[in-house]
Symmetry: C2
Subunit: 228 residues, 2 copies
């Protein structure tokens, strides 16, 4: 039975990027539909009343399945298409993957994105005026704290979750990659994070993200450079 | 093999309450350890570096499993103790359960709790002074919007997810129950939500929540009344 997948997403949304990476890693083909989450279409709100990206729609001959938002989509993909496994092979690995997903989607999102991405990206998308320099500074400071935490983990681990690539890496890389689009990641001060990101950036699943461009928002010059 | 469970939680934390409800519904015994998340102990930060409650520790003869934060714990419990099922029997039910979990844990949390619970609860716990009346008003207004959404769902559905009790109900009830502790839920204006909450409040898994008291914070008089 052929499943047709449509992913409603926004190119520079970290949650959407996690799903694109997982779909790519599992070699599941999908059609993309770009949604401007800050002015959601009525048709998109019918799919997800919260208006949040991403939403995955799977259709086959006799059914249509709508799955809203990244955690639900990622858990679904692990059950429906378990190879390669991206969650973890035992309860401890799965707990660590999900702990780190939550870390990035809540703590990092709140402490870094709500300042840095809001000032650099959302203010331009929403036409809210010039960035606030104090917020930018606070966001960059919080980013350094988070990268310090990642650096500590990655000095002992090949991947964030331990020894194998997982959704925890995709969560971290999705967030950092959007900030990197705007040139704000201090790579040179965190060599283990940089090495880890280089490995991820070289994977085929990462290529579509490196090709993303948004009108009026040019990426940093090194953004798609594998040797940054 | 006997598994000993310890739940590190805070009594008035909606995320912790979801896990207590799920453990109760699945009749899984556990020991409780109260954590003051606003001044985390070093020992708690070793379990969860983000300092966020809840954390579940499972130990048996030869292993110790630490599971941090509500989504990871709830997904783990569904895999480890699948009866009764609280996630959903097919991909569509599971997607709807997880959509609503995300709705409460992100959207409701951001739009209601960050105003209403912050002003009524956190300001007293953290000794931050008197509540800001404009924030309280905005939080109450957002709460009405969310309850209107729930009312619409519950006019067509027995439970939030459709026809069966699920983690979506526990997510909604956990959030509302904490706000209800402070007497701020306008039950009379949302009769279907009230009927749904009455059903939940009568379940054995809910009893420990109704017995919660925090020093210096008295609950509303109807808080533990099954006929409110």
């Amino acid at each position: 039975m052929t499943v047709l997948r449509t992913l409603h997403h926004f190119a520079l949304d970290p949650a959407s990027r996690q799903v694109r990476l997982a779909l790519g890693e599992k070699r599941l083909p999908f059609v993309e539909l770009l949604e401007r989450y800050w002015e959601p279409r009525a048709g998109f709100l019918e799919l997800n009343p919260s208006g949040v990206t991403p939403v995955l729609v799977e259709t086959n001959d006799d059914a249509r399945l709508v799955i809203c938002e990244s955690r639900a989509i990622l858990e679904h993909l692990e059950q429906a298409s378990p190879e390669p496994d991206l969650l973890g092979r035992d309860p401890a690995e799965r707990a660590e993957t999900r702990r780190l997903q939550q870390w990035f989607d809540r703590k990092f999102d709140f402490e870094v994105n709500s300042l840095l991405l809001h000032e650099k990206m959302e203010k331009r998308l929403f036409s809210l005026g010039a960035p606030d320099l104090a917020n930018l500074r606070a966001g960059r400071e919080a980013l350094r704290t988070h990268m310090g935490y990642m650096e500590g983990l990655l000095q002992d681990r090949d991947w964030l979750n331990g020894h194998r690539l997982s959704l925890a890496d995709f969560a971290g890389a999705a967030h950092l990659s959007v900030i990197d689009y705007f040139g704000d990641v201090p790579w040179t001060d965190f060599p283990s994070v940089r090495t880890w990101y280089t490995k991820l950036k070289s994977r085929p699943c990462f290529r579509p993200l490196l090709a993303d461009r948004w009108p009026g928002l040019a990426p940093a010059s090194h953004y798609d450079d594998l040797d940054f």
